[in-house]
């Protein structure tokens, strides 16, 4: 069971989200005049936010384990008839990790964006949106109740919309932005019903009373309903099956956006939501199983899609979906600390790879197709080394961060007797190493396959310095977990409850299996794509039509279009153009026509002028009133 934490007031929490908000507004209105300073100010705002966050977390850690909860009440947001929602912030172990990732990695991505967006004349707008995103993301994780969380939740959706469609003169970008917002809002709608159910059951949306009273108030079934409604929101935001379709298209946004929003932070909000609500999921039990099943299915599904992509960013997009699936696997097994460790590690290596991909795209003058690349390691050495560190980390090569995260997860599966999860997780790990190896080789090894690749150049220091810092982080983050009494679990366990370990294969054995799987997968990719003994194109041809199907996400998108989107559009057209215009309005006009015909005899009355009608009505009213007056 979870112990109750003693809370203390923290008066600086509001500063953390407000800094990026303030600069966002500045850039929104006068960004154009700020020129280059727009990006500098935006980066400084997030960096300052990071500094305050570090100080706040340090203060939190200096307290005894049972008192690591800081809260701040800003003002009453909604207060109607005894139902009150405050603009309340809360910092605990869970939100601490999130804000460090958001502001830390966020600051690096802002820094990178200064260089990346240097030649875009609308960069003021860009940084305004990017800062606004950081604000909403911080509200999402700092909120002390579900409504502030929902504010952040919808807000990041808004910024995601604005940034995916940033280059909106190209209609496909705008389409992708709209698709992302609407698809995630399907989940959000169910989540909103979940919030209504919480209000119905608890009369509040504050975390503390809800989680405190939940075991006595909620039946198993009620908890299942609420948990699944919340999870629906998480499925949308974190692009899990069956709402995964928006994320690959979201790559239409500028690459720093993909790194920040669609890899490191926003898409992990679903994981955060479920962990934050773990009390409800645990009462249900069934809901955790659903989370686990969706996680496994998504991890495998997206990994198969990633193998077949030709666009470097779409590999990373499917890879992100798959990795988020992993995080939900951990959550579904109640291994919250593992999920959070995975989340942090992933934020580092995926942001690193996205920014690396951005550097590649920059160097290739906008080309994203890996078939046009090759041999870039010679001309882009820094990008290559850092990107490779990210890829190897995710593939699970020790001692990089990803290895520990994935290994911890598979260990939990094995040690809690979930052999199927362990097996499928290992299979997905094999596929992961495969598509990463393929991407690495196609991009950086072999001979240049196009003019652009021939003449590619290394990016400026402004772009590769963030890469180097992130790469160092990827290497360093693993160390956190090396120590079993590391800060992470000590931070989270009092909040979330420790995991019971039933025992199983020893850590070393599991690690050896995992590393062997990764190395074998990488070796196979080298054999296919790097050794020159096999023609990759012929290999792909032999895999048809599976390869093309996987490249198109197994046609889920197209199926949705046929089954849902087109019929819904037809239905809307029927409703608007036939039902409303002909049937309902037709009835109204019909009645009017009848009256007209009935009055046709009395043409004298039917003068057709509204003022006559008005006069008649007025006279009628006077007459009736007069009649009443006489009677009284």
């Amino acid at each position: 069971m979870v112990e109750t934490l003693t809370s203390h007031d923290a008066s600086v929490l509001w500063v953390i989200p407000t800094l990026p908000l303030a600069i966002s507004m500045l850039n929104l209105f006068v960004g154009k005049r700020l020129g280059r300073w727009a990006g500098v100010l935006a980066t400084m705002a997030v960096a300052a936010s990071f500094a305050v966050a570090v100080a706040s977390v340090a203060d939190l850690l200096s307290r005894p384990a049972g008192e690591r909860l800081a809260s701040q009440h800003l003002f009453d947001w909604i207060s109607v008839g005894g139902f009150r929602v405050g603009a309340d912030l809360r910092l605990d172990g869970l939100s601490a990790m999130m804000i460090l990732v958001i502001t830390g990695i966020g600051a690096l991505i802002h820094l990178y964006s200064i260089g990346y967006m240097a030649h875009d004349e609308r960069r003021g707008r860009f940084f305004a949106y990017l800062n606004l995103f950081v604000f909403f993301m911080l509200m999402l994780v700092l909120g002390a109740n579900y409504l502030v969380l929902y504010l952040g939740w919808e807000g990041v959706g808004l910024c995601s919309f604005l940034l995916i469609g940033f280059w909106s003169d190209k209609l496909t970008n705008a389409e992708a932005a709209k698709k992302a917002f609407i698809t995630t809002r399907i989940g959000d709608t169910l989540m909103l019903v979940g919030l209504a159910t919480l209000v119905f059951k608890f009369g509040t949306l504050d975390f503390v009373p809800i989680f405190g009273a939940a075991p006595t108030v909620l039946t198993k079934d009620a908890a299942t309903v609420i948990a699944l409604l919340l999870f629906a929101g998480a499925i949308g935001k974190s692009a899990q099956l069956p709402l995964q379709v928006w994320l690959p298209d979201a790559m239409a946004g500028p690459t720093p956006v993909s790194a920040l929003i669609h890899a490191a932070t926003m898409v992990t909000a679903g994981v955060y939501l479920v962990i934050r609500s773990h009390v409800l999921f645990e009462i249900s039990g069934v809901a955790l199983t659903v989370v686990l099943v969706i996680g496994v299915a998504t991890a495998l599904f997206a990994a198969t899609c990633a193998i077949a992509q030709v666009d470097i960013k779409r590999v990373l997009a499917y890879s992100t979906i798959s990795q988020l699936g992993y995080m939900f696997i951990a959550v579904g097994m109640r291994a919250y600390a593992v999920a959070m460790f995975f989340l942090v590690a992933h934020a580092f290596y995926k942001a690193l790879m996205f920014l690396g991909a951005g550097s590649v795209i920059h160097g290739m003058h906008g080309e994203q197709d890996m078939r046009q690349m090759g041999g870039l390691r010679k001309v882009m050495p820094v990008t290559f080394v850092t990107f490779a560190i990210g890829a190897l980390a995710q593939a699970g090569i020790p001692p990089l961060a990803g290895f520990f995260a994935k290994d911890a997860l598979l260990e939990v599966a094995q040690h809690t007797g979930r052999t199927a999860v362990y097996g499928l997780g290992t299979l997905a790990a094999f596929l992961t190493a495969f598509y990463l190896g393929r991407m690495l080789i196609l991009t950086f090894f072999g001979k240049p396959r196009s003019d652009a690749a021939e003449h590619a150049h290394e990016s400026s220091p402004l772009i590769w310095i963030p890469l180097a810092i992130l790469a160092a982080g990827v290497a360093f983050a693993g160390v956190l977990e090396l120590n079993p009494e590391g800060k992470l679990t000590s931070l989270l366990d009092p909040l979330l409850g420790a995991l019971h370990d039933a025992g199983g294969l020893p850590f070393a054995t599991l690690a050896e299996i995992a590393v062997a799987v990764a190395v074998v997968a990488l070796a196979i990719t080298w054999w296919i794509y790097g050794s020159g003994r096999i023609d990759p194109n012929a290999f792909r041809a032999r895999m048809e039509p599976m390869a093309t199907a996987a490249q198109h996400g197994w046609y889920v998108d197209r199926a949705y279009d046929v089954v849902f989107v087109q019929p819904a559009k037809a239905l809307a057209r029927m409703t608007g153009e036939v039902l409303d215009a002909k049937v309902i309005d037709g009835a109204v006009n019909g009645v009017a026509g009848l009256v007209q015909r009935a009055a046709a005899g009395g043409r004298l009355i039917q003068t057709g002028f509204v003022r006559t009608y008005a006069l008649v009505l007025f006279l009628g009213a006077v007459l009736v009133l007069g009649y009443i007056g006489v009677r009284v």
Partner: protein, 509 residues
């Protein structure tokens, strides 16, 4: 003026009319504009004085002014304000100067146009403040004439058809209202049209009579709201109306209907209000989804916003008849918020029309790159209307949803569907206006002018302010709605009760 602040608010615009009429042809177009703007601004500042004298904690009518008018039949000049009408009055006085300023581009018959605007303001304000049924009816009917003239005189191509439809449809509804008022007066007697007194005496009516009378009132107000399926006059009227008329139609006129429901139907016929609550709520929920679905398929941007109003006003009616504190207060809040958000949308659509001369979504596109500020403001209003938390509409809708959910889970869920539907029609239409390739004839269009910024800025600012701090409004709304609920459904769970007690009730609904 000190004791007559409400009368001053109502009749100041009429004073302006007097000036415009007396001045006659000597007044230039520019003069007429400035006079009207000044009058509406003064009216607004007087209404702020009203706000200053208002006691938020007092649930009853305040600043009452009472005078005998036609003693023979007990007709009185009786006006007063409570926490419900307070914000509707302020919304009205706030939107009028903005609408006048937005009408700067009207060039035909300016003086007459401004006269119609000012008469309309008096009529609307009178409707919100009258506490005597006949006085209310006179104001209520008086709204029709200037609105009819505005649509018919300064509207689009099919303005005559739309104006006539608007007039006759609403008038047909009013006929029921008038008959019901007179019948009520004759039956419940007391020789007065004072709503406060009638609220008590109407309780002595036989149930069946009260229910029939309720329906009479309902038809008149349901047309005005408009409640599905009585809404088809609205898209026509909006499409043809000039910008300011659209703003005022959506912003305040529709609220007169919803206001009538809470002020008169519920006060006079509490039993019938409860009796008919379920079918009305079902119609409202259908309207929420139906209006949104119709909006998706529209090609004319004004029709689209009109249908979105049908959907949003469905929230208002749904919440009113749920009779929980959150739902009813949320409804009143939603009335104000919809007025602002939809008002902003119509202002922006009007500005787009003045530049592109089209309302067809297919004939726009790429305008964000031509007029970044205008389209930026438009996007802000779009997201406010789509119920983005932090902006105003969200709060009202959320309160209605949770307040309705406590009564009926299914109706609460049905209302929630609008969350995703509104995102579809609003973003889709925005995309068609703003994104993609620019048409050649739209290159070089001017971005917002200083005048337009002055028009938009106050409205857009309030979209944010009321989204972040709705308590400004609800602290006055809450006591008044609590009184209504107490009157209609004293046994209802007026608040969402906390904890275990509610868990036992879980099977309800």
């Amino acid at each position: 003026m000190s004791g007559h602040v409400l009368s001053a608010v109502i009749f100041l615009p009429l004073l302006g009319v007097l000036g415009l009429v007396i001045g006659g042809r000597q007044i230039t177009d520019a003069g007429a504009r400035w006079i009207t703007l000044l009058v509406t601004l003064v009216t607004f500042s007087v209404s702020l004085a009203m706000l200053g004298r208002f006691t938020a904690a007092d649930p009853g009518y305040q600043l009452i002014e009472q005078a005998s008018w036609v003693p023979g039949i007990g007709l009185q000049y009786l006006i007063g304000v409570d926490g419900i009408s307070l914000w509707l009055v302020l919304l009205t006085t706030f939107l009028f100067p903005i609408s006048v300023l937005a009408s700067w581009t009207v060039t035909a018959n300016v003086r007459r146009y401004m006269v119609a605007m000012l008469v309309l303001e008096t009529a609307v304000l009178g409707s919100f403040l009258a506490l005597d049924l006949i006085l209310f009816f006179i104001f209520f009917e008086a709204i029709l004439v200037p609105m009819y003239l505005l649509i018919g005189g300064w509207g689009g191509e099919r303005r005559v058809h739309a104006a006539l439809k608007f007039f006759l449809y609403t008038m047909a509804g009013s006929a029921f209202l008038l008959v019901a008022i007179i019948f009520l007066y004759a039956k419940a007697g007391g020789g007065t049209f004072d709503v406060r007194t009638l609220a008590d005496t109407a309780a002595t009516l036989p149930l069946a009579t009260a229910r029939w009378l309720f329906l009479g009132f309902l038809v008149a107000f349901a047309v005005k709201v408009p409640l599905f399926p009585l809404h088809t006059w609205l898209p026509d009227a909006h499409t043809e109306a000039p910008t300011a008329a659209s703003v005022l139609l959506a912003g305040v006129l529709l609220k007169v209907g919803a206001y009538g429901l809470i002020r008169f139907n519920m006060a006079l016929f509490p039993e019938a209000s409860k009796h008919f609550a379920t079918p009305i709520m079902v119609l409202a929920a259908i309207g929420i989804v139906y209006g949104a679905v119709c909006a998706i398929s529209q090609r004319d941007v004004k029709r689209l916003v009109a249908y979105s109003s049908v959907s949003h006003l469905g929230f208002v009616v749904l919440g009113l008849f749920a009779f929980t504190q959150q739902a009813v207060s949320g409804s009143v809040l939603q009335m104000v918020n919809h007025g602002l958000a939809t008002g902003a949308l119509f202002l922006l659509v009007g500005m787009l029309y003045e530049r592109t001369h089209t309302r067809q979504l297919d004939e726009m596109g790429g305008l964000a790159s031509v007029m970044p500020w205008l389209l930026g403001f438009f996007l802000f209003a779009v997201f406010a209307s789509a119920g983005l938390p932090g902006l105003n509409s969200f709060v009202g809708e959320f309160l209605v949803i949770i307040g309705t959910f406590a009564i009926s889970h299914w109706l609460g869920v049905a209302a929630s569907i609008a969350v995703v539907l509104s995102a579809i029609y609003l973003l889709w239409s925005y995309q068609r206006v703003a994104y993609g390739a620019v048409r050649d004839e739209h290159r070089g269009l001017a971005d917002v002018s200083a005048r337009e910024v002055v028009v938009l800025a106050p409205v857009l600012a309030l979209l944010l302010v009321f989204g972040v701090y709705p308590k400004m409004l609800t602290s006055a709304i809450d006591p008044a709605t609590a009184r209504v609920i107490e009157h209609v459904a004293p046994d209802h769970p007026t608040t969402v009760v906390t904890g275990v007690e509610v868990a036992d009730e879980g099977s309800r609904g």
